[in-house]
């Protein structure tokens, strides 16, 4: 299964059209602005990017992760696909 790294909202759209429902997504950079579009269990937010932008406090139920947790996800899935437009 693939892991998707989403870097902005246009990338999120392109990714959603082409991913398997079970593939996990990590939102990072401006991708964290898409947090409110989703409540899925397999969607993660890079916490530092969410906190920088004032997004973390708006999405208290989100799966916030740090870099080590991101590394752990990349161990489990392949390929790792980046989406930015």
């Amino acid at each position: 299964m693939s892991l998707h790294l989403v870097f902005n909202s246009a990338g999120y759209k392109a990714c959603q059209l082409r991913r398997l429902n079970d593939d996990p997504i990590i939102l990072l950079g401006d991708g964290v602005y898409c947090a409110s579009s989703t409540r899925e269990d397999n969607t993660y937010l890079l916490e530092i990017d969410a906190r920088v932008r004032g997004i973390a406090s708006l999405n208290k139920e989100a799966n916030l992760i740090d870099y080590p947790a991101m590394v752990a996800l990349t161990e489990l899935y392949s390929p790792v696909v980046s989406w930015a437009e």
């Binding site: 990072l28 991101m70 590394v71 392949s78």
Partner: protein, 129 residues
Amino acid sequence: MKYTLAIHGAPYASQSAQHGIGFAEALLRQEHTIERIFFFHEGVYQALSTRVTPQGEEDLMPKWLSLNARGIELAVCIASGIKRGVINEEERLRYEKISTSLAAPFTLVGLGQLISAINEADRYIEFPV
């Protein structure tokens, strides 16, 4: 596991460096290895030696240097680099430029080094922006 990372964005125009450095440091803490960090497209500007970080902002160059000191190769795409102005002493002489602009531990390499690093690694991760 063995990782190859790619950085596509310039400092101040992207978060490529923050993401790449944050991820690379976490990899090393978890005892993964990094085959190579490859700087492509505008990512080559990360290697410019003349950058001056504004007061109160974080200078990312020491973090690249620290990764290099731990054995990580910082490989700048030569085709992307020299056309944008990132040149070493050899290219300076060849093209008769006044000065070099590649910071010391970065090296200019061909695209073959991206492909071979991808082939050697278990994972390839891109930080585009």
